[in-house]
């Protein structure tokens, strides 16, 4: 099966590993990702903080390209891109005048046909159908992830309905259980890591992350798992700073959900590029005998 794919800027740069993993893991599940041609930056949350028009118009261009691709569904793995693109699609479906104004500048017009999926939308259905368990050759026994959703996968600045529970989502847990891991119940799964505040308001971000890490520690987690490249980057790259400032001894690998799938499917951590994490993540995999 072929579906359209919007990687977004981050998956072409600092989180390139996530791009590689998504393609690899989904191919193993029988899904071929067709990257849409000439896509542009969605504007992320910066556009909505600066200019209402661009916040809708930038993702709109990608929607037009996706609509013209002939495919019916598009995967957007990055939570920020996913959020902004869904919001743009919704606003354009309600505001014909704005849609016409934007379409006037586009070579591929927004039609509003494409169905946008998060990585969890796809993986949960593959977990429920049994395909994930079927394709897994290793059980992730002993892995106790704190499933970390962050903000933008479940909460939108617009009236958008999602299939999961907003306050206590379960999609990632469903996937982790299908892999034989033991996801934990915890309180900070949808709390904010600070997002871009790590760069422009570091103290605030470090404090927010400290609360998330402390709760995971108290619950007995041995790692985080996430679907958002921003959450992964922050919690991974800044973990040393957070731990030092807030006196946290234990270190937590921060896995992308695709990495857990890859390991279970028999890929090596190097093939999954887990060696590109900042916090050592191979140690835990070795300890659990998931990697020699």
């Amino acid at each position: 099966m072929q579906i359209a794919y919007y990687p977004g800027c981050t998956l072409h740069a600092s989180s390139e590993l996530y791009d590689i993993q998504c393609k690899k893991v989904l191919k193993h599940l029988g899904i071929e990702l067709k990257e849409i041609e000439d896509w542009n930056c969605c504007g992320a949350t910066s556009a909505s903080k600066t200019d209402n028009f661009l916040a809708v118009a930038l993702p709109a261009r990608n929607l037009g390209i996706a609509d013209a691709s002939g495919l019916s569904e598009m995967l957007i793995p990055c939570s920020s891109c996913y959020n902004r693109t869904l919001v743009s699609q919704k606003i354009l479906s309600e505001d014909t005048e704005l849609k016409n104004k934007i379409n006037a500048e586009l070579s591929k017009k927004v039609q509003g046909k494409i169905r946008i999926s998060s990585i969890l939308d796809i993986l949960v259905s593959k977990a429920n159908s049994g395909e994930i368990a079927e394709k897994s050759i290793k059980k992730l026994e002993g892995l106790k992830p704190a499933c970390y959703y962050g903000c933008l996968l479940t909460r939108f600045p617009h009236d958008i309905k999602i299939s999961d529970n907003i306050e206590n989502p379960q999609g990632m847990e469903t996937v982790c259980k299908a892999l034989g891991a033991e996801p934990l119940d915890w309180s900070y799964k949808t709390d904010c890591c600070g997002a871009s505040a790590t760069v422009n308001d570091t103290d605030t971000a470090l404090f927010l992350m400290s609360q998330i890490i402390k709760d995971a520690l108290a619950r007995g987690a041995n790692c985080f798992v996430t679907t958002c490249p921003m959450c992964q980057m922050n919690m991974d790259m800044y973990q040393d700073q957070v731990s030092e400032r807030y006196g946290i001894q234990k270190k937590f690998p921060v896995f992308f959900i695709t990495e857990l799938l890859g390991i279970a499917m028999g890929f090596t951590p190097q093939e999954m590029q887990i060696d590109r994490h900042f916090v050592d993540s191979l140690g835990l995999l070795k300890e659990l005998k998931l990697y020699e």
Binding site: C9, H12, A13, S14, S15, E16, L17, D38, W39, N40, C41, G43, A44, T45, S46, A47, S48, K49, T50, D51, N52, F53, L54, A57, L58, R61, K101, I102, E105, L106, S107, C151, L152, R155, F156, P157, H158, D159, I166, T190, D191, C192, G194, A195, S196, A197, V199, N200, D201, T204, A205, F207, L208, M237, R276, H277, F278
Partner: protein, 204 residues
């Protein structure tokens, strides 16, 4: 809220409420001060101001305070307030609107780095159609240093910031998480036209 005495001055209130409601698309008058937003705000404790208070400020026409408070600038856009609001008020969008008003009025933000960051992000997008992280961080740090030298902490702050960024940069390089190839789209003219439309709209 540091306001001395609550005074209702319709000549101040009305235009501010109207502008914020129009631009944010949020019905501020629906707020009945239940404070669910306040309970969920991750930065509320630090800012000393929560979304419900901000809405009151706007209703009382306190424009200066509404633009110059820590909540507007420290809001991490997690959208918890809006998701929990029983009346569907997206306070994060009110914050976004206040940031925009502040920018258009050329008011120096309480946290200049925040607006510098988002401006640099959008500028980077306008150059190549995609954000190139190195270019973006370069734009951000340059603008930031300029501001620091002009208003803020001077050379020491600039050097400390550069050192910190260099350290992060090196650790990213070690993990092969810096991307050196320039990512550029083919039909960049479409992006330029969208930016022009945005500017024309803001001007008119």
């Amino acid at each position: 809220m540091s306001s001395p005495v609550l005074q209702f001055r319709p000549e101040l209130s009305q235009p501010l409420i109207q502008e914020v409601m129009d631009r944010s698309g949020q019905n501020l008058l629906a707020c009945y001060q239940c404070r669910r937003c306040a309970a969920g705000c991750p930065v509320g404790e630090e800012t000393g101001l929560t979304p419900d208070r901000l809405i009151r400020m706007i209703i009382f026409g306190e424009k200066e305070e509404a633009l110059n408070n820590l909540l507007v600038w420290k809001c991490v856009a997690c959208y918890t307030c809006g998701t929990r609001c029983p009346n569907n008020i997206q306070t994060a969008r009110i914050n976004e609107t206040l940031k925009q008003i502040s920018k258009e009025a050329h008011i120096e933000p309480l946290l200049p780095k925040v607006s510098t960051f988002h401006d640099a992000f959008l500028r980077s997008t306008s150059h190549f159609g995609r954000v190139n992280e190195l270019e973006f961080i370069g734009l951000y740090e340059m603008q930031n240093a300029k501001k620091e030298l002009k208003h803020g902490g001077g050379w020491k702050t600039v050097v400390a910031e550069m050192k910190n960024q260099a350290k992060l940069g090196i650790s990213m390089m070690k993990k092969k998480r810096i991307h050196f190839r320039l990512d550029k789209i083919k039909r960049l003219s479409e992006i330029k036209r969208l930016y022009k439309k945005a500017r024309d709209k803001a001007g008119g």
